[in-house]
């Protein structure tokens, strides 16, 4: 750690990991509800568990992104953070607002929460992933603006690098597109259309800028490759992300009341969306092959390579699989979508946050370069446990999805939804089993932070 103020990142990373554990626990609850329909009913119905699962994911990834920014921006800008105090204050504001929201989901019926928080004054609740009460959404905007002000002024007074610029564009885009969550027209078609301006333009747009810039930072630090080369890659990757991803939004407009020409625009451009992810994979492996140093923090390199590969598989390959309109006609809103969602989020966003945590946390804890050998081994085991179990979760959901599509939509005598759900139960059980392995991997990951011992030696030249 080169600058004292980078230490605020530690709070953000700890909170991120804590909420990650909560997310997975509720994921297992939902997985069980898929096969034991009355599990925890009516105390925690499926929709509540799902809100907790998805909202915790979003919140902990945001904690991770902010922590990443607070860590890497002072180092890139070569100056102390504009206001460490503000960063700490906003951490607590965000954590308390997030915790109260989750408790609200769990403790009172959702309609009561809507009433308590005055949803009728500005109705924004009850839409997928945007279930937060309106006041929580306003809180998110305040936290995001304070954060952008803080890191923005840090960059302004310091060195401006491509990495900080791209990260700032991504984070500013994140804040701007979130504003569409306040637009909830009565017209269902318009509501759905603009809902995607938050959801798609986040995860298939500006978040890719955030991911690519964090990846570039970790690769510069762990491979010692010349910054000029890395920055050129970064530009071309994010260019492809936005060139394909902006019009690629159209693959969500096929069946929600938008005109037919979106079938063409959406299919063609979203079919190109795997390109930036493929480039990220080539980029990461190329940089590691051309490394000038052997960095002693092996898990950080593993996460960096892993995020590139898994993002390509989850977002790229699994996304392409059902993005063409004639295919999507049958797969839209089935377990195929769930399969893609799980691997894409894990590969692209969970793993990039774990990559920066893996790189930064030992330094934030006052170590020279990395954790002890024993701790690193445990962390790498957790990498493989989580990654392989996520591959299986995805495969099992894909199996469930293919059967669901066939039985419910494709065969000559389509069966009803619930009948089909019973028939594909086996796949849900196997998914739950893979989920348990994921949790074991995650607990091992948490445990790896508590393994002490002697640090490995510092970096050496290749």
């Amino acid at each position: 750690m080169k600058y004292e103020s980078q230490s605020v990142a530690k709070l953000y990373f700890i909170a991120a990991i804590g909420l990650f554990v909560g997310q997975i626990v509720f994921g297992l609850v939902m997985g069980l509800q898929y096969v034991m329909g009355d599990f925890m009913f009516p105390e925690i119905p499926f929709n509540v568990a799902r809100m907790v699962h998805t909202n915790l994911l979003i919140v902990w990834l945001l904690f991770g992104f902010m922590g990443a920014a607070y860590y890497l921006i002072p180092e890139e800008a070569e100056t102390e953070l504009h206001s460490p105090m503000l960063a700490k204050l906003m951490f607590w504001v965000f954590l308390v607002a997030g915790a109260l929201t989750i408790l609200g989901y769990l403790l009172v019926p959702y309609s009561t929460l809507a009433e308590m928080t005055g949803n009728s004054l500005l109705p924004t609740m009850g839409r997928e992933f945007l279930e937060q009460p309106t006041i929580t959404k306003i809180g998110i905007v305040i936290v995001a603006l304070s954060f952008l002000y803080n890191v923005g002024f840090t960059v302004l007074k310091g060195r401006k690098t491509v990495i900080t610029l791209v990260l700032l564009i991504g984070l500013a885009g994140l804040a701007i597109f979130f504003l569409f969550s306040f637009y909830n027209p009565d017209n269902l078609v318009k509501d759905k259309y603009y809902w995607w301006f938050v959801v798609h333009l986040w995860v298939e747009g500006v978040w890719e800028l955030i991911m690519a810039s964090i990846l570039a930072f970790v690769l510069i630090k762990t491979t010692g490759v010349d910054r000029e080369i890395i920055e050129k890659w970064l530009y071309i990757i994010i260019a492809m992300a936005l060139i394909t991803g902006l019009i690629g939004t159209g693959h969500h407009f096929f069946w929600i009341g938008a005109p037919e020409y979106w079938l063409w625009w959406g299919s063609i451009f979203s079919a190109l969306e795997p390109i930036p992810f493929f480039m990220m994979t080539v980029f990461a492996f190329n940089m590691v092959n051309k490394r000038r140093i052997n960095h002693p923090n092996q898990p950080a390199v593993l996460w960096a390579l892993g995020t590139a590969v898994m993002a390509f598989l989850g977002a790229g390959v699994w996304g392409f699989m059902h993005t063409l309109a004639p295919v999507n006609y049958y797969t839209h809103g089935t377990q195929i979508t769930a399969a893609h969602g799980h691997m894409a989020f894990y590969g692209a966003y969970v793993m990039i946050v774990l990559a920066i945590i893996s790189y930064a946390m030992p330094l934030l804890r006052g170590r020279k370069a990395c954790n002890s050998a024993a701790s690193q081994v445990a962390e790498m085991w957790s990498f493989w446990l989580m990654t392989i179990s996520m591959v299986f979760i995805t495969l099992f959901l894909t199996g469930a999805g293919i059967l669901q599509v066939y039985l419910q939509r494709f065969s000559d005598e389509p069966m009803s939804f619930m009948v089909v759900q019973d028939k594909i139960e086996l796949f849900y059980w196997m998914r739950e089993g893979a989920g348990v392995v994921f949790l074991i991997g995650l607990l091992l990951y948490v445990y790896s932070f508590f393994i002490g011992g002697e640090e490995r030696t510092v970096e050496e030249k290749v």
Binding site: F41, P45, A114, I229, G250, Q408
Partner: protein
């Protein structure tokens, strides 16, 4: 990448490409607005339907169901439930009313929301309105 392709070229592709395709997205969005009156069933967007959408939202129906394929995949698609239930809002209302408070042992079950008659009518009318949207013939069949 070779030296022929420089960093400033990559930067220009990023800025130029992003701005161009963002403007194209805006243009297509404008065109989409023009096309909507023919497709979005707005003529049936009554005050009852508006209330139904509000109830749909504050009870987080999308947390289990999908609507036009979007939402959760735990419970049936509702974009065509009106047709599936024989073009009958009464059948939809009867189903919602009939849900047991304590669920069904071992099975998935929709919660009992204790809606009054006016609320039931609003939700049913909202689902009827949704079923009238031109979705390019989605879903493939009545099962949703």
């Amino acid at each position: 990448m070779s030296e022929v392709f420089t960093k400033s070229m990559a930067r220009n592709i990023f800025y130029g490409g992003s701005v161009f395709f963002f403007l194209l997205l805006l243009a297509l969005t404008f065109q989409t607005h023009e096309a909507w009156p023919e497709r979005d069933n707005h003529e049936n967007l009554t005050d009852t339907v508006r209330h139904g959408k509000e109830l749909w939202e504050v009870n987080n129906c999308v947390g289990c169901h999908s609507l036009l394929g979007e939402g959760a995949y735990f419970a049936p698609e509702l974009g065509n439930v009106y047709q599936r239930y024989g073009n009958s809002t009464d059948a939809i209302k009867a189903f919602i009313m009939s849900r047991p408070k304590e669920g069904i042992p071992g099975r998935r079950s929709m919660p009992q929301f204790n809606f009054d008659d006016e609320e039931l009518e609003a939700i049913a009318q909202f689902l009827k309105y949704a079923s009238g949207i031109n979705t390019n013939d989605w879903p493939p069949n009545i099962q949703g």
